[in-house]
Every structure is written in C-alpha cells, then in structure tokens.
C-alpha cells in the first residue's frame, strides 16, 4: 500500500475511532474536561492568583499527557477485549499507521480540553502568536511522547484488569507529581533536578517559558534549567519513546 494510502488510513482511523467516538459518546467529552478542570478549580481556590497561569499551563499539559493514558487503555481494550487490533494489523495497513491513527484519535478526544485551556490562558495572560506556536510545539512533542509510552505499555498487558493500577502509577507520576500544575520554584532549589527525572518537567518548563511565565533555575545542575537543554530533553525523549515503542512493542505474542 502506498504512503498516500497509509496516510489516508491513519485519518480514517482517527475519524471513526476518534471523532465518531467522541460525538457519539458525549460522556467522554465531559470526562476529559473534568480532571484538569478540577485541578484548576482547586488551584483557583487555594493558590495565590499569581500562580493561576501555571495551573492553566498545567491543564494544557495534563490534557496532552492524558492522551498517553487514553492510548494505553484504548489500545489494550481494542487488542484484548475486542480483538480489533489483530483485525487491523493483519491487513495492508502498517502497524505504525495503526499507532498513529490511534494516537490522533486520542488527540481528537483532547482537542476540546486543549481549546478550552488555551482560551483561558489567553484570558489570564497576554500571549503572542510566536509564543502560541511555541506552546503548540510543546503540545505536539508531549502528545508524541505520551502516546508512544501509552502504546508501548498497552502491548504488554495480558488482561484489562492490569491496566488500571499500572496506568494510575505511571500517568500520575508523569502528570501530577512533577511541576506540571505548580511552578518548579515551589520545589526546594537543591532538589529541582529531581523533577527533571520526569519527562513531563521538560515539557512543563518549556510551556511555562513559552507562555512568558517565570521559569525557575536549577542551581545544582544549572545547564538543566535552560531552553536548549529542555528542548533537547523533550525532543530527545519524544524520539526515544517513539523509537522504543516501534522497536519493542509486541505486535506478535511471544
């Protein structure tokens, strides 16, 4: 099958799994807004007003990271419960097209929340066109990173029962514990480097800088807290995760 047909297949999967799935299950729509909005509301109530923009940027990134959790759940569900992954990959469709189609579906689920958070962001801070595109770049890299991780993990599950606890551990560690919803400055200076153990910190710091918010330094490893290091980190991790997912994802049971 030609690359054009593969690309068409990717968009077909995104259409029927993502778009039609969203419009025919409005509850998914609500569920996707609920968690980041709850965090945002919580921050609005308890945090100083100056930190609210961090919460909004956090909402944007949380939505992107959530695509990884969705990817893991949906891919495992379609493989284990519906056996549809087997139906689709035993065809001229390349496995990478299946993954990309699924990842775009997850992005489709996230787009309404992203639009909302980006809209709120423009209300709480002024954001230039350049900054907007920089933020968009961070969003795309974070989506790629989270989707690759989600897909890779999905291929290792043997039952749907295993997904919930593992998904909670991984995606909570990625999206709630690191400085996604709060500024890195809230972490004691000597421990800030620890936050960079989570790939989401690279994304959050880049997003914070793109939004024009004050970024914290990393006194113990000064090179970490810079745009080139964070960009290199995020791009490198996104490429690494995608490569690992393509190389080690189990298309065939051992």
């Amino acid at each position: 099958m030609t690359w054009r047909r593969q690309a068409n297949a990717v968009f077909r999967i995104c259409w029927f799994n993502g778009f039609l799935g969203l419009v025919r299950s409005p509850l998914v729509f609500v569920a996707l807004f609920l968690t980041p909005l709850s965090f945002l509301f919580f921050l609005y109530v308890v945090a100083p007003r100056a930190e609210l923009p961090f919460g909004v940027v956090g909402g944007v990134l949380f939505s992107c990271l959530f695509t990884g959790s969705g990817m893991m759940n949906d891919c495992a569900y379609l493989r284990l419960e519906r056996q549809l992954q087997q139906v689709f990959i035993t065809s001229p469709l390349r496995p990478i097209s299946w993954v990309l189609g699924m990842a775009l579906s997850e992005l489709t689920f996230t787009i309404p929340a992203l639009v909302l958070f980006l809209g709120v962001l423009t209300l709480v801070i002024s954001i230039s066109i350049g900054a907007f595109f920089a933020l968009l770049g961070v969003i795309i890299l974070t989506w790629l990173l989270a989707s690759s991780l989600g897909f890779l993990l999905s291929t290792f599950f043997r039952t749907l029962r295993e997904i919930w606890p593992i998904g909670m551990v991984i995606f909570t560690t990625l999206s709630v514990l690191p400085p996604v919803f709060y500024p890195l400055a809230a972490v004691p200076a000597s421990f800030r480097w620890v936050a960079y153990l989570a790939p989401s910190t690279f994304a959050s710091q880049l997003a914070v800088r793109a939004a024009g918010l004050p970024a914290a330094s990393v006194p113990s490893v000064p090179a970490l807290g810079s745009i080139p290091a964070e960009l290199l980190g995020l791009v490198g991790l996104a490429v690494l995760f995608t490569g690992v997912a393509m190389r080690f994802a189990r298309w065939r049971e051992p």
């Binding site: 077909r12 999967i13 029927f16 799935g21 056996q83 087997q86 990959i89 065809s91 065939r252």
Partner: protein, 311 residues
C-alpha cells in the same frame, strides 16, 4: 500451488512454572483456492495455529509459509495478503455495520466508491441491511458477530482466516455467512476455517484436518472422515430401552436425555421393529461428521463425559 505450508510447527506456552504444548510438530499444506476446515475440541491448538499463520504469534519451532513467504521472517509481506476473523472478536461499539465495512475497506486501501459498493453487497448478502445504520452497541451478539465477519468477507484478501466465524449466530444467519464464504472462494480467496459446528464443516469445506492435543490426527475430505466410522446409521431413542439391550447392535451413547446406538444398515429394521412394538419413537439418520469426529478424537474426553460410551 500451495497457499499455506506449515512444517514441523510447534508452540509451547510457558508461564507460572507450567508449560503447555499447544502445537506439536504440525505439518500441513493448504492449496490455493481451497476452503479448508480445522476441527478440534477447545484447546486442541486450532487458534494457536491460526495466530501463528497470521503472524500474530511466534512459534516455538518450525515454520509457516504463506504463498511462499515465511510468516515469521516477513510478517509485513504476509499481512498484506490476509484478513482474519479472530475468535470472539467484537466490533467497535459506536460504529454501525455499514461504517465497519466501509471504514475497514478504506483502511485496507480500497477507494471510497469500492468500499460503498462492496458494503452494499456484503451487508445485503449477510442479512445486515436492516441494521446497517444501527450502532453495534444496540445489536444482538449474533448481529455483532455478523458485522465483524462482514468486514472481513468484504475484503479481497487472498487468504482468509476465519476462527469460529459463525459463533452465536442463528441457523439462518449461518447459512447466509456460508454463502458469502463460498463466494469469497469462488472469487479466488483461500480460506482456513475453524468451527465447532460440524455441519458447517461438512457443508463448506473441501478438505479438513482434525487436531487433537496439538497434533493433526486426520486430514482428508469430510466424506472420507465419515467413512472411518464402521457403523453407517445412528438411531436415537428418547426412552424405553436400556444400554444393555442396545449393546448387541453397536456402540451405545447417552445423549440428549436418551440413548443413541451406532449400528449397521442391516440392523436398523430389527431395532425399528422393536421400537414399534414398544410404541417408542425412534430417530433414524446417517452417521454424521460429528459422529466421525467424536469417534476419531475419542468420546471419553472430559468435557463430553455425558457422551461416554455405555456399552
């Protein structure tokens, strides 16, 4: 030309300190354009064979070639030429049967027009037209299964793996699916079908293999398999006879709340006369593929203890 060639194919599942040998040195060839049946009880190794041949599972040893291409070494080349109905697969809950067929064909590379016309054709042939625009979540289990099968049978894949495709369907739907399977074969596809409905295997397949404990016990035509049973006629009595009384006439089995005796043509008259004298209803019929299958794999299998021979 052979469409599928399996050579010394073995598969051992390991886990939890145990190992289960699902396939044991299986040699099998399926000719191009053949409708080949795979029979065997649960856990016999049928699905394992299909998963390996479709490139979804790695074998422990041995090889499978599809149209001359090694499935393990070149899964991508093989996948381009196949389609599979997985055992107990289910459609997307939010899509309609028409969307399933059209979208799947387009994902496989068919044009929008071709997808539409094939969808029309297959939905009509499989009796799915009245439900074509109903989301799968509102369809019965049998209709959902038909939707999944329609997706696969609408393709022009050269090799179709159908793992229990008519599971849960009513007899009318099964016959509609049979007709579409036959049409796929007429159009040049090769089909490997597993089924627990032996009438289905008898109706559809050109040739079949019986697999038991991971080994091929028999390979040949359904008629040749039936001829392996020494008796020709089966008589079923719902009541009125004991196993001891029937034993001299042949093999006796407890079945469907009564007794079945497998006997020869010569003894049918005597048995029906006895039944008439006792005013007992008797059901007479030829030995079926099911009888031949049970004779071959042995009736004294755990799952079918109720049909163990009594005499």
């Amino acid at each position: 030309m052979d469409a599928l060639v399996a050579h010394s194919l073995s598969k051992t599942y390991r886990g939890g300190g145990r190992s289960v040998r699902a396939l044991d040195n299986v040699d099998l060839t399926i000719a191009q354009g053949q409708l080949f049946g795979f029979l065997g009880r649960n856990g016999a190794g049928k699905t394992t064979f299909i998963k390996i041949a479709a490139g979804l599972l790695l074998p422990s040893s041995g090889s499978v070639q599809l149209f001359g291409t090694d499935v393990v070494a070149h899964p991508r080349e093989v996948r381009e030429r196949i389609a599979i109905v997985p055992q107990e697969g289910k459609p997307f809950y939010h899509l309609t049967p028409r969307e399933h067929v059209e979208e799947y064909l387009q994902v496989r590379g068919a044009s929008s027009e071709t997808s539409k016309s094939r969808a029309d054709e297959v939905l009509k042939a499989m009796g799915l037209e009245p439900y074509a625009r109903t989301p799968a979540m509102l369809l019965s289990g049998g209709l959902q299964q038909r939707t999944l099968v329609a997706m696969i049978l609408a393709t022009d894949a050269e090799f179709l793996f159908l793992d229990e495709p008519t599971l849960g369907m009513d007899p009318f739907a099964r016959r509609q699916v049979w007709e579409v399977i036959r049409r796929s074969v007429r159009n040049g596809s090769t089909v490997l079908l597993t089924t627990h409905y032996l009438d289905e295997a008898e109706q559809l397949t050109d040739e079949l293999a019986v697999i038991e404990g991971g080994r091929v016990l028999y390979r040949g035509t359904p008629d040749a398999l039936k001829s392996k049973v020494r008796r020709e006629v089966r008589l079923h009595f719902s009541s009125g006879f004991s196993a001891e009384e029937l034993a001299p006439f042949g093999e006796v089995y407890a079945e469907r709340g009564g007794l079945t005796v497998m006997t020869t043509r010569a003894q049918v008259e005597e048995l029906t006369r006895m039944a008439l004298e006792r005013k007992i209803a008797v059901n007479v019929g030829p030995v079926t593929l099911e009888e031949a299958f049970l004779t071959l794999v042995g009736r004294d299998i755990e799952e079918e203890d109720s049909e163990a021979p009594l005499a």
